[in-house]
């Protein structure tokens, strides 16, 4: 488990990370979402022991991470711009990482390169941006560390490759309890892979929740009441998070499980009702609006 306790980090006068508290559970995919400059990369660089926090503490399985070799053995960092040695090949990289990470699986590394049609003898400098990202992910996976920390890693991958990478993630999560931590400014990138999502804004965490919980506990309802009085009475008894009305059609975002609302709506005097699933983006819009933020302004997509 990764525990982030009240950490802060400033660069000159800019407060990049501001008193963040976060807990990342094992064997689940944690998504870190936020706009450019929200502090994602800084947080990840502190998480991997590259940067020293000004305040606070980061514990990796109970061990402080900064300048701690044992804690770093548990994680592999794929930065937004991965570095590869000049004039080196994929094979060179594998050999190097094999000497650095105690559990690095060189055979698996070559196997994955073959699967993704990456020539291990070709110079990495001749790879496309997407191929370099694939190579970085393969290296991360094959390091067999408990935590894999990815900064904007899936940006630049085509959908097929992305799916392929995600399936490798899934198998490693299942086989050896890998815990990926993925930062992105794109909610849709994370929607189909993350178990938990944390939203960063201006160096702080706006919210951090389990995605299934969020999806199960927030519903979008579209309904038409028989009379305006019935509608009024319903809204008086069940205060929604958000309400929109177009003609007689009422669209509401509400907290609670689908079953609970089935019961409520069934009992209500409606002509028609429908309970719809929310996209991750819609959930975030609703959640952040509740705490006073307009997420459309926070997130680009």
């Amino acid at each position: 488990m990764i525990e982030i306790q009240n950490i802060s980090k400033s660069f000159d006068t800019i407060k990049a990370v501001n008193h963040i508290n976060l807990t990342i559970a094992d064997e689940a995919v944690f998504g870190l979402v936020g706009t450019n400059g929200a502090g994602k990369s800084t947080l990840l660089r502190m998480l991997t022991g590259v940067l020293r926090p000004d305040d606070g503490l980061i514990l990796i399985d109970g061990m402080p991470v900064y300048d701690n070799k044992e804690a770093k053995k548990l994680m592999y960092f794929i930065p937004d711009e991965p570095y590869f040695f000049a004039s080196s090949t994929g094979k060179d990289l594998g050999v190097y990482l094999n000497g650095v990470y105690p559990l690095f699986d060189l055979d698996s590394f070559y196997q994955h390169m073959k699967t993704f049609e990456l020539d291990p003898h070709r110079k990495i400098s001749t790879f496309s941006k997407g191929m370099k990202k694939q190579l970085a992910i393969i290296a991360g996976i094959c390091s067999n560390t408990k935590y894999l920390i990815c900064d904007e890693t899936f940006d630049g991958l085509d959908p097929v490759m992305r799916q392929g990478m995600k399936s490798i993630f899934a198998s490693h999560i299942e086989e050896r309890g890998l815990t990926p931590i993925i930062a992105s400014h794109n909610l849709r990138e994370l929607e189909d892979i993350c178990d938990t999502v944390g939203l960063l804004h201006q160096g702080g965490v706006l919210l951090s929740k389990d995605l299934v919980d969020m999806k199960c506990n927030i519903q979008k309802i579209q309904c038409v009441f028989t009379t305006p009085q019935a509608e009024e009475s319903f809204l008086a008894q069940n205060i929604p998070m958000k309400v929109e009305k177009r003609g007689k059609l009422l669209t509401m975002t509400v907290r609670g499980t689908k079953a609970t609302w089935e019961e409520v709506l069934h009992a209500a005097d409606t002509v028609f009702y429908e309970i719809l699933p929310l996209s991750l983006e819609e959930i975030f819009i609703s959640e952040t609006e509740v705490v006073g933020y307009d997420i459309k302004k926070l997130l680009l997509n």
Binding site: G49, D67, K69, K72, F77, P79, E81, V100, P102
Partner: protein, 704 residues
């Protein structure tokens, strides 16, 4: 199972990243040692003999020059050390690389050690390999002497230490900074900061402290200990002297070796400390440690400001107002440069002006403190009860050659230096009676006499050995005529005589085996060899020890004796000293007269081709009825006239002694062209200018 993280594997991986530097070093040394030696030796083997040096001797000298520590070798070592040091830690200047390396499960200490050791081996292996190949080539040509072999071994040690110290210094610069260009500037600053500061303080002391005594070697600005480059430069100078003698090659080098070792340890410790503490986010910044920025800027801006102020003060004819302008101008320039280098942004010029203002203020304070002697430097004389011994050197004969070379190690020395270091005057009452009459030198005072000098104000160099172990050096001045009563007791002290005059040194034989003597009498040389030379020497020594100073004062020397002795073999020079024969030196005069030197006869008129006389003054009214001003030369060639002139002409060199000040006519110069020495300058003895000369000069002045 093999150890995945072993040190050797890590070094191998580090080597892969840096091998271009390694191969560059290999290429450089391969060209420098075996290739260039083979080409040069091959060319020399077939060359003709020059002068008295055979081709083999030339080849041996060339091999020696290449294999022993030298300037070219040092330049190569410093260049590769800087490149290797910067390249080893250049990854710290790139965010992607920092993320890559610092997120790995490798401790900082381990990574630091891997990079450091790889960098040392990267130099050591190609250097030793190529130099050994070079030595084999030289052996193949039979051009290796025992001196070359031992010097080669020495060069391995010295170059390795120079490399390591410069490599660590470059590492430190790379770690302290966040950008390659700033790292290079940092290496420059760390290398020259000490010598630059010392040179500046030396110049300030020399200009503003009238009693400053900076002539001695230990006060020399180049005696620096904080930069490998300056330490090596001094070592090389020392080695050169040793080479000249062929003996004692290793003597005295230990301190330089130790200095380089200590510097290496300090730079390594600082680099390691900085590496551990370096914030990863400093990538791309000028200085990695924010806390260092202001102190460093303050230091550099203050030094620059002091330099600027001093420079303007000197070129403006010592104007305080322009000194202030210089301080402000140079501080502003320094501020702009430093801020732009720190931030890599021209907009940074507008920041941190407070530091620049403080630097300007400090610069002004330093300059004003020197200018008005706030520290009381010139007023300071150690109290007698705090003093153990005193050394005094009175520069009575400024034209005398006081430099000599020690045959055992080629070390250059001077009589002044010998006296100051070896004299231990303990009769402090007499010494302080003397010192109390000395004064702070004024601008008119100087080490040298000229024709216009009328007061015998002799420069006095003093070293106090204090009871607390410290030493104090000062330059003072004393009037020979007014204070002979306090000068004479000091001059007569056995400790004074035994150190200030080489004739009395016990170890004189070591320094100089007398070969011959030349008596220069009124411009004519009389060579004296063999036993006669020894007789002259012994008589002269007796006179030096026995003659009171007051007996020598107010007398024109009869001539100069040049003593020639053993020299420094490989330099093709010999030690020689010149010394005046005062009329009071009766023993010497007696011996010389016995040897046929005509000490009382004037120069033979037959040996003179022409005499020209001219005035150097614009208005001389000191000749009674004659008014003489600057005029054309008077030419005399009539033997009778010339004979009259020669009777009272004294060679200018013979009156370069404070004991003869005021005994010649100022303003009238005689140029005598003789048959074998060409022109030589003479003066008339005081009051003995022939009447016809004064008349002719007056006429010449009127016609002007």
């Amino acid at each position: 199972m093999t150890s995945k993280n072993s040190f050797l594997i890590s070094m191998k991986e580090n080597w892969k990243r840096r091998m271009w530097v390694g191969f560059a070093i290999l290429g450089i040394y391969f060209m420098y040692y075996p290739i260039s030696l083979a080409l040069n030796l091959n060319a020399m083997k077939a060359s003709i003999t020059y002068y008295d040096t055979s081709p083999m001797e030339m080849m041996q000298q060339m091999v020696y020059r290449t294999m022993a520590p030298n300037n070219t070798g040092a330049f190569l070592v410093i260049a590769v050390a800087v490149i290797a040091g910067l390249q080893g830690f250049a990854y710290l200047h790139n965010r992607s690389k920092v993320d890559f390396y610092h997120s790995q499960p490798v401790s900082k200490g381990y990574r630091f050690a891997v990079i450091t050791v790889t960098g040392i081996l990267m130099f050591l292996v190609p250097f030793v390999l190529c130099s050994l190949l070079g030595l084999l080539v030289a052996i193949g040509y039979g051009a290796v002497t025992p001196l070359t072999a031992t010097s080669y071994a020495e060069s391995i040690l010295v170059y390795l230490l120079l490399y390591i110290s410069m490599y660590f210094l470059s590492m430190l610069a790379a770690i302290l900074t966040g950008h390659g260009i700033v790292s290079i500037l940092g290496i420059g600053v760390l290398s020259v900061l000490e010598i630059g500061t010392r040179a500046l303080l030396y110049a300030l002391s020399e200009q503003f402290h009238h009693t400053f005594y900076g002539r001695l070697q230990e006060n020399n600005i180049f005696h620096c200990i904080l930069s490998p480059i300056t330490v090596y430069a001094e070592l090389l100078t020392k080695r050169y002297r040793m080479y000249l003698t062929d003996v004692g090659v290793r003597e005295g080098l230990g301190k330089y070796v130790l200095n380089l070792i200590v510097l290496s340890v300090i730079f390594l410790a600082l680099a390691w400390f900085a590496y551990r503490k370096r914030p990863a986010e400093s990538t791309g910044k000028g200085i990695a440690f924010t806390g260092l920025k202001s102190p460093l800027k303050l230091l550099l801006s203050t030094i620059a400001g002091v330099f600027g102020g001093f420079f303007f003060y000197m070129i403006s004819g010592k104007s305080m107002a322009l000194m202030l302008v210089g301080v402000l101008l140079v501080t502003v320039i320094a501020h702009i440069l430093i801020e732009v280098i720190y931030e890599f942004d021209l907009k940074a010029i507008g920041k941190h002006w407070m530091t620049a203002c403080i630097a300007a203020l400090l610069s002004v304070l330093v300059l004003v403190a020197f200018r008005f002697d706030w520290m009381g430097y010139d007023r300071y004389l150690p109290k007698q009860d705090k003093v153990e011994t005193v050394s005094i050197y009175m520069n009575l004969e400024p034209s005398r050659n006081t430099t000599y070379y020690l045959p055992e190690n080629g070390q250059e020395n001077s009589l002044e230096s010998y006296a100051i270091h070896n004299m231990k005057l303990t009769d402090l009452d007499a010494v302080y009676a003397f010192l109390e009459q000395t004064e702070v030198p004024q601008e008119k005072d100087g080490s040298w006499l000229d024709q216009d000098t009328v007061e015998p104000r002799v420069m006095v160099y003093v070293k106090w050995n204090l009871k607390n172990g410290k030493t104090v050096y000062r330059t003072r001045v004393i009037d020979l005529n007014q204070h002979m009563d306090v000068i004479e007791p000091v001059y007569a002290m056995p400790e004074y005589q035994s150190t200030v005059n080489q004739m009395t040194w016990q170890e004189f034989a070591k320094v100089m085996h007398l070969k011959r003597v030349e008596m220069d009498y009124r411009g004519i040389d009389f060579p004296i060899d063999g036993e006669a030379a020894v007789q002259v020497w012994e008589a002269y020594r007796k006179d030096v020890l026995q003659t009171p100073l007051r007996n020598m004062n107010h007398s024109i020397p009869l001539g100069t004796i040049n003593f020639y002795g053993t020299g420094i073999r490989n330099a093709h020079w010999e030690n020689n000293w010149n010394a005046y024969v005062y009329p009071a030196y009766t023993n010497t005069i007696r011996v010389l007269e016995k040897l046929g030197v005509p000490l009382t006869a004037p120069m033979d008129v037959q040996e003179v081709e022409m005499v020209s006389i001219y005035s150097t003054k614009s208005n001389i009214s000191a000749y009674g009825q004659y008014s003489i001003s600057y005029g054309d030369s008077l030419i005399y060639s009539d033997p009778r006239v010339v004979k009259t002139i020669l009777e009272h002409a004294v060679p200018a060199e013979d009156v370069q002694t404070w004991l003869a000040v005021g005994l010649c006519e100022p303003g009238i110069v005689i140029d005598i062209q003789n048959t074998y020495k060409g022109y030589r300058t003479y003066y008339f003895e005081k009051g003995k200018v022939p009447e016809f000369v004064l008349q002719d000069l007056a006429k010449a002045s009127l016609s002007e």
